[in-house]
Assembly symmetry: C2
Homo-oligomer: 222 residues x 2
DNA sequence: ATACTGATTCGACTTTTGGCTAATGGTATC
DNA sequence: GATACCATTAGCCAAAAGTCGAATCAGTAT
């Protein structure tokens, strides 16, 4: 009866087909597994809140509402006890390396054959950090800036994080307020708190900071 | 006496050491070559204006004031007659492919040995499009968005482009005005024109558009 | 010579942003 | 129960952002 008896997983990916495939693989590894799905930042919030005892989160790097390592950085500090595995179409060693440094418990390229994915799931359930073969973790280091931004971002509250992601879409305070069903005054208060925590002076700079956590080529920033 | 008798080149790169090495290689290929240098967007403007009859521009992808393909997109439309070769530390096939699609006349990785660089210069002077070996030009296509943004950006006037790049650094109108030595009202007018041409409604969205021309992993944008 | 186009400049005006204070209620934690 | 933090809102204010119309200037076509 109690869910703590069985394994609880969360699969966050906006591609239904891949979600299904991943769930299938998980079931093969853990027959009685209970799996919860999310296809956006908003639904990820709901599912994570509703299942605080989940054992593992499979997180896509790109979903509606979040992009890059932002969501990972956030999860690492607001739900420390929930290990997070990145599942992504990207398989650049530098991106993989950065994901691990941002606190991911593993990295599964979407291009992996089913067997490999199942092997990855099993390894991670054993507490291992699973990576594709031949990955040099020294490939892409986090520069100081990136680490600082990730730390600042993980200090944000859930609402603040959500608002920050919407700033990242170029929305007005008024639009954000409408979409979240609160007053504009509330959004302003959130934005002020965000700017403070991110140590920037206006929303454009905040958005630029978020962009640095995207999976762009490392080594280009002077 | 007339400069049109000799070959005119422009080398735009913010790394003095590499600039020197490249100039040396050019001299080896074209003994009497006249070479003009730029180490920032501002100086690139000056040099290009001062030498409208230049034969070839060597352009680094990352200089103070510009980043990614923005400068290339701009050059392609405002100085159509000046062929541009990208010189970059990046050698990702997708980046190379995108550079060519943005109108570059060649791509020289900085990691190339001197001989290769000289071979590249000779080939490009013959009118060829020079690429590193084994490059699959199908590697990274421009999505519609990226092509649209590049087109919009190349419709900007020099001043507007300059202002847009400064928006991309998170600067205030006031700061931009001070740096360019004009009134804040002028900058506001430029910004309004930029927003119109880029088909966005505020500066944050304009900055996000510019970011799409950076050399980040392609294929990640949903 | 005239007219037209486009770039640059700027002031006046409106809207949006962002900071500050203050108040309310909820929810943990101690 | 007290304390702390979060979310919410209002109201006020100063600063910044953005729009419009207008003047100037250069180049270009007629």
């Amino acid at each position: 009866m109690t869910e703590s008896d069985s394994s609880n997983f969360i699969v966050a990916d906006d591609h239904p087909l891949f979600r299904e495939a991943l769930i299938h693989a998980i079931h093969n590894c853990v027959p009685g597994a209970v799996i919860h799905e999310a296809d956006s930042l908003a639904s990820l919030y709901e599912v994570v809140e509703a299942n605080p005892d989940a054992d593992l989160l499979f997180l896509d790097l790109h979903m509606p509402g979040v992009s890059g390592f932002s969501a990972l950085a956030y999860m690492r500090n607001n739900h420390e006890s929930l290990p997070t595995v990145i599942v992504s179409a990207v398989d650049d060693p530098a991106v993989i390396s950065r994901a691990i440094q941002h606190g991911a418990s593993g990295f599964i390229p979407k291009s992996s054959p089913i067997r490999k994915i199942e092997a990855a799931i099993n390894a991670i359930l054993q507490g291992e950090v699973w990576l594709p073969e031949n990955i040099d973790l020294g490939a892409g280091g986090l520069d100081n800036e990136e680490a600082r931004i990730a730390a600042a971002m993980s200090a944000l509250t859930p609402h603040q994080f959500r608002v920050l992601m919407m700033l990242g879409e170029g929305l007005l305070n008024k639009q954000i307020a409408y979409q979240l069903g609160v007053s504009e005054a509330t959004i302003k208060a959130h934005v002020t708190a965000i700017l403070r925590k991110m140590q920037v002076t206006n929303r454009t700079q905040a958005v630029l900071a978020v962009q640095r956590l995207n999976t762009r080529e490392p080594g280009l920033v002077e």
